[in-house]
Subunit: 424 residues, 2 copies
């Protein structure tokens, strides 16, 4: 299809038709048995493995056109045998997850004898808008389908051929197992107007999940007429409290910052109580510098560690996704909580302390999706929570917060069992 030849009206009509087919597929999928969904996803994992050559060939076309992209972007785009196998394995793992649909999450009996059950049901149709990493195509579609939803995928134009090849293979698997192919569809045009059309398709899409950089997410939030499960930046903090154990603090700060610097759960700011700046912060910073991390500190930090560069106001709100850490010495717990709530991004924050009361206060008062005590912020991950897989980490408070797994991609209904009750 030649995107340039399309008029805005025809893009809209095309997106609408995709939405209509997704709704029909979602209605069938909502009634599919757990076994049928498991078999469909297992079959999709198989076809992805079988189609490896075709997928890598399609990816080569994207890579050829991606000459002008940065090295990290090119790396995210690249598919090799290992990555395709990893993607197929991911789909197979989702296939074997427990089915959330049909789960009775509450049941009670009213004085009049009515038995009320709250039962998990699928959300319906989920629109996923993502950038560069083509494996999102299979990851996101499989999680949506596990929860009985249809997915409409809109990948970045740089991964156009890769995503199309992955989707074709995935759909072939679904169809082979008797699931509706249209449970996973993509928008088959690079026309940017298609994103706008998706974001206005209120009658056919129930929720939009954007995955990508700040620019993409800001555009989606601004334009969408459909509820958005948003994943904003992860400006995560580690706070070394006066009662922190030194060995724990050294190990956790190093892991939170340096294990992988590019993930949303990576620590971007470190706060340390003045009382333990000399004993704890000094060796922690020496460790980090030795590991190749740049330190941007406030005045007290720089006195303690002369190799630190000065931190500006901007540093306290920046998600570096790199080997850089903003460091501030604080008076104590109150100031640390205030700093995190005012300057953080309400994603994931950790306190390191042996003082249980201080930990409780931090966990209660820090207004973030994930708050940790004596553990690394890099545990902010659906897999680490035991969800098997996640479609992202929600920083919003509506519907889902924190890792969004299959259960978070469901709604519920009330089933009320009576024996002829009428209301007085």
């Amino acid at each position: 299809m030649n995107a340039l030849a399309q008029t805005p009206g025809s893009v809209e009509a095309e997106v609408r038709e995709i939405g209509r087919r997704a709704r029909a597929a979602a209605e069938r999928l909502a009634l599919a048995s757990s076994d049928a969904k498991r078999q469909g996803l297992a079959a999709a994992a198989e076809t992805l493995r079988a189609d490896m050559g075709r997928i890598i060939e399609a990816n080569r076309r994207d890579m050829e056109a991606a000459g002008e992209l940065s090295a990290p972007m090119r790396d995210r785009l690249l598919l090799d045998e290992k990555r395709v196998r990893g993607m197929a394995d991911g789909v197979a793992i989702v296939a074997d997850l427990p089915d959330p649909v049909g789960e009775v999450t509450a049941r009670w009996t009213r004085p009049n004898g009515l038995v009320i059950e709250r039962v998990r049901v699928p959300l319906g149709v989920i629109g996923i808008i993502y950038e560069s990493r083509p494996n999102v195509t299979a990851d996101a579609a499989s999680l949506c389908i596990k929860a009985g939803n249809a997915a409409i995928l809109r990948g970045g134009s740089e991964s156009f051929h890769s995503s199309a090849a992955i989707l074709a293979s995935f759909r072939r698997g679904l169809a082979a197992a008797g699931l509706p192919e249209d449970a996973a569809q993509s928008i088959p045009t690079r026309d940017r107007a298609a994103v706008g059309a998706m974001l206005r398709l209120t009658d056919f899409i129930d929720v939009i999940v954007p995955r990508g950089g700040k620019g993409l997410i800001a555009r989606v939030i601004e334009e969408s007429r459909i509820p958005v499960l948003k994943h904003l930046d992860g400006n995560c903090h580690v706070y070394v409290h006066a009662a922190a154990d030194l060995a724990t603090a050294r190990a956790v700060v190093m892991n939170a910052k340096m294990r992988r610097t590019s993930v949303c759960g990576a620590a971007e700011s470190l706060l340390c109580d003045r009382a333990v700046a000399e004993t704890h912060l000094k060796p922690i910073l020496a460790d980090l510098i030795a590991a190749g991390c740049e330190i941007r500190g406030d005045a007290e930090t720089r006195q303690l560690e002369p190799r630190a560069r000065p931190a500006t106001e901007e540093d306290w709100t920046t998600e570096y996704l790199d080997a850089i850490l903003a460091v501030r010495v604080v008076d104590g717990l109150e100031q640390a909580i205030d700093h995190v709530n005012r300057l953080g991004s309400h994603h994931t924050d950790s306190i390191l302390t042996e003082d249980e009361a201080a930990a409780q206060k931090f966990l209660a008062e820090v207004d973030s999706a994930i708050v940790l005590h004596n553990a690394s912020t890099q545990f902010a991950d659906g897999g680490e929570f035991g969800f098997g897989a996640e479609i992202g980490i929600s920083t919003g408070k509506l519907h889902a917060r924190g890792p969004v797994g299959a259960a978070e991609l469901t709604s519920y209904k009330y089933a009320v069992h009576g024996t002829g009750q009428v209301r007085p």
Copy 2:
């Protein structure tokens, strides 16, 4: 304040300032103890009782200006001693409800020893936009505060003075008990631009709850940049299946339609299997007509009951909120489910049958917030569900579906308890 003298910019600035204060109040309220919230609401119930004279006097001013309103509108607007007392009692009931905040709704331990807890937390700031009934001011504010949220209220201009008097009294109670007054604020202008400004206040309002007619809700859904807990129309169905018990069917249909015709859970359509049209539908329709209900039927219904008027296509999708019922004879379960899903409003629908398998299929396949077996649709009510109070019935699938009580006005966070774990 003279609304006419305000420029659009000043309305926006005023709404923004209200939002800023609501956010500050919400931050304090999120940390308030269960006792403090209970005492604050109990005090507000007291001041409402003490200020009865002032509230009724304010209502008189609204009633005088409401000469041109219809009789039902005037009735909804009117406050007398009994209604003010009922409103205060409602606040006292909410005061004594269990506090949802802090409830640990799930707890599990990971293989690495991390203990993960999902803990209920408040949503933040809730914007409520409502029409005519001034008691919503106290009802909605008390439920929001119970769940630790601040409320920004925007009532209809016809209830301007009544709502202001109720709110002033309510705030006096909160303040007397040491809760932040700004946990309940209203937009103190009749300027319609204020609603638009509220709907764009994404940084200070977390969720919008519209309560009112279709026009209001449609405007809110169209204009809001903030997530909406929507309550669309209740086109509720009762389906008399071939295996329905006759006495149950007569009692439930009568109650579902005629107990109160103006509530969203009132039945608006009746479906009956052809197999029992003669035995069941005929006496049911005779009962209804005797009770003053107008019947609009399809051809088969009209053959059975000559007093029925012909139903048009529009009747199948209309929420009458009146003593009118659309009636159709169907082939059986499949056709009934298809009718409800295609023409209903996904609110509340009931099957009457002694056949357990048929009931299970209906409950599973009808895509509505509330599905009932052998019970009246008029049970669609937070009180009847045991929630103590509700802010509305959500027909959306995101975040909350069905009756929205205090628990549905919360979000959650994950509190993770470690002993120094780092991620491998």
